[in-house]
Subunit: 283 residues, 4 copies
């Protein structure tokens, strides 16, 4: 049949396997989210519900891909860590990044109205995605430290900036000028003296970003948890309420490790988080 | 600041430019759409509204990316042709495939209720995407011929199969057995003699797939067309009604070439389609 | 056996196929040849015997790889053009570049004493190699034009430079200063007025570089062809002569096209060379 | 000048950096060395002088590239380990593999007559090369174990095979048949009972292959060693006699670590070799 005559064009596809034995970090970034936040009048400097929507989309991704053991989100971006042993889609780069980015996007649009019921989504938003391979645990630690340090820097800046604009009656141009060259301690002081804001008492979500981590739960605890179906959720998930995931579809003969994805807003730069979860970076 | 200490992790990102001077074909495929069509009770063998939704998402992609001059869709897949001269995102592969796949997905979910208002979307669907580079026009011709020949083969099979099941009271197993080894002419005959269906009078959309092509329009015609905003469309686009795209945002001083994206269901295996549009494969 | 327990390490090898349907250009460059030419007291500005040795090594490569149809050499570099249809080593990049670079290197060292019998090779010289893919004939034309234009620029400069140093008693620093900013016509004039050198009557090998082209010969003509001596080198071996290469190993039943590799020092920027050899860029 | 008009062809070069933070193993293999060994009548099953020539070429490579800390050779292949921190040629794959393969080849041809003075090299031999990235020390251990296990398997087979042929008067076909399906202990027994050969008393070079390792030497010892120039070596290097390499070109103000490349024929599958040299796999 005619098909076969043209089928040679498949041979132009090039393989794109990711190196074995490396941790994979997939980072998704919002495309033109400055415009999206303007168009939908997001709360400044942080729109909690929009951030919860991001967390929800990320959780969907983790529920679908068991080899993702950790994720970190801030603003319009989310980073996912795949175990170094993952063989998802034979580690084909294009397949992995497009499928994950697509599912994240889909979940974001699908769940928009649950989190922002009063704001109609005006047009379809999009994200881009990329994968970076890291050979060793140290680099993974430093990658996530890099993102959380970035969260801190950006949030401190934005918090003062919007205080200056919204409460201090400065124009955005003035506010940028006011902040130019200031160090961290000056910004803290400015917040405190001019706006009576104690930065450290702001919500941890804003200061630390969102950490989604796959935690092992004891079998006896696991059986008490009923799996929640996506479509059944009538209200946004309560924070930290993980949806348990059986590690096997068939009824287990003996108790097996079960996992739940927990949402945290904790420090991931120091050792504590990692020391408590050695399996995240296990060989 | 702490950020810089960790920033070295960026150096692990590897460049992934696509070779200059090649045509790029980006193909998007639905992930587990068999399940999606079951879950939402799509009409068999073709659900026209679901196909129109695919076309809508593809049109959104073409409206966003001017360097896509042609697209072809069938079933749950869509192929996009980028001009060989495109410099979109500096031809970075990951950036292009994730952004396009994300926008397509987003538009599919966003517009679902416009095309299938009676069926609530039960969960967020996803797509994967890949890019293939082709060095010459011949391979582009053959690529699209390959996809349209595939459309023909699949649609003929599915048409007879579902006639056997829905009208002929065969089980799906029986229907597959009935069709095993039959050639094209036998299937045509079977449709005609047992179900009084003249295959060639079925809708062209089902037999030929969907062709979205960026056509040049005369300036005097272009000014008559009012741009339609995405969010404003309350009903699905009428087929073939292209949304004109000004080639510049600022008011042009002299008439410039303007383009519109037309939806066709025509043959793209023969020469006629291509001979009429030499600019598609122009060097 | 123990071997199998460790064999998994093979799985870390990544595929590196070159895109089908593209012309391949492999360029070899001498490593630290400035030092090599100093150490072996090469004649300035051009050492004809050293250039002949380069040509010899390139010819060896073309005799070994039939899919190379053209090569161009100047100074310490050589570029090889593979037919776009080549399937050498399944187009694996590493395999192709290392094998060709190795054979070139090997032949260079092996034949050194034939061309430079009075100069003992003091240490093993080396080359690097790279491959560039080009999708269309135009780029191949321009690639070779780029290299030959480079030959011209460099040779003109070096010719005047060494005339200033060797005949004009300028130091190398002075000579560079004298030439700084001068255009081509000034250099020609300088050569003529100060050193009575008519640039255009210098050997074509220096001005045009070396072109090795696989030419089709008529069967009846082929048998008549006596090996043509490379540059009339009297001592160096019989190699350097166009060794006809049967396109098949088995005795042909009817006369088949036979090929010989010819060495030319002609213009390859203009159309004539290419018009006479349409098969070089044939689809 | 004309050059610039064509220079755009450089833009078709694609970057090919190797992932940071990975160990690099570069393996060189002889091309058609079965034919080479026949043509030059190499001693069977092992030609010690030909193996010494391989070692010499490998040592030349290690003297040139300080980031190679270990190499292992057997038969017509050699593997080189680069420190994971190497930034040689900005980790560009093509540049590294071609330069190293070229230098190895060059040294092999250059030094042929020193090791095989009674056998004229009949034509220029060639090698191919490839690079594999390994993320962790374990894989490096296993890579070298894989190669040495391979040495063992091949050498045992070849030793019996050639005993059967040269001493047992079997044809090569018979000898292969005799050995088909035999396990290791059977081969040992066969050697012993039929040819009075105790396999384990054969030269370690044949049984273990060649290990070239960059060893740190104490400063006081180092000053006693005079660097030997390549060209000055009138006879093949004595085994294990390392050529010391100063870690710096300028006279050091205080004693610095100096290195020498040692040739060993020891076990590298067990822990001892590695435990004694922790710097080989140091982070």
């Amino acid at each position: 049949m005619a098909g076969s005559r043209y089928e040679y064009v498949k041979k132009f596809e090039l393989p794109d396997p990711l190196l074995l034995g490396t941790f994979l970090v997939l980072r998704i970034d919002g495309h033109a989210f400055h415009k999206l936040s303007e168009a939908h009048d997001f709360t400044k400097p942080n729109d909690e519900r929009a951030l919860q929507l991001m967390d929800h989309a990320a959780r969907n991704v983790m529920n679908e891909f068991n080899d993702i053991c950790l994720a970190f989100g801030e603003s319009d971006e989310y980073s996912f860590l795949f175990r170094k042993s993952t063989t998802l889609y034979n580690r084909r780069q294009s397949k992995i990044i497009t499928t994950v980015t697509s599912l994240f996007t889909s979940s974001y649009v699908y769940n928009w109205s649950k989190y922002l019921p009063d704001k109609e989504l005006m047009y379809p938003p999009s994200f881009d995605g990329r994968i970076v391979m890291y050979p060793s645990p140290k680099e993974i630690r430093d990658y996530f430290a890099w993102r959380q340090a970035d969260t801190h820097i950006n949030n401190l800046y934005n918090t003062v900036f919007w205080a200056l604009v919204l409460q201090g009656d400065e124009s955005t141009t003035q506010a940028h000028a006011t902040l130019r060259g200031t160090v961290s301690s000056t910004k803290h002081e400015m917040l405190h003296s001019r706006f009576s804001i104690n930065y450290n008492s702001l919500p941890a979500r804003f200061r630390k970003g969102s950490v989604l981590v796959r935690e092992q739960v004891m079998p006896e605890k696991a059986v008490l948890l009923a799996p929640a179906a996506e479509g059944a959720a009538s209200t946004p998930d309560v924070e930290g309420q993980g949806i348990p995931q059986p590690s096997t579809r068939k009824p287990p003969k003996k108790p097996k490790a079960q996992y739940t994805v927990e949402l945290l807003h904790c420090d991931i730069i120091g050792d504590e988080f990692w020391d408590q979860r050695p399996y995240l970076l296990a060989e």
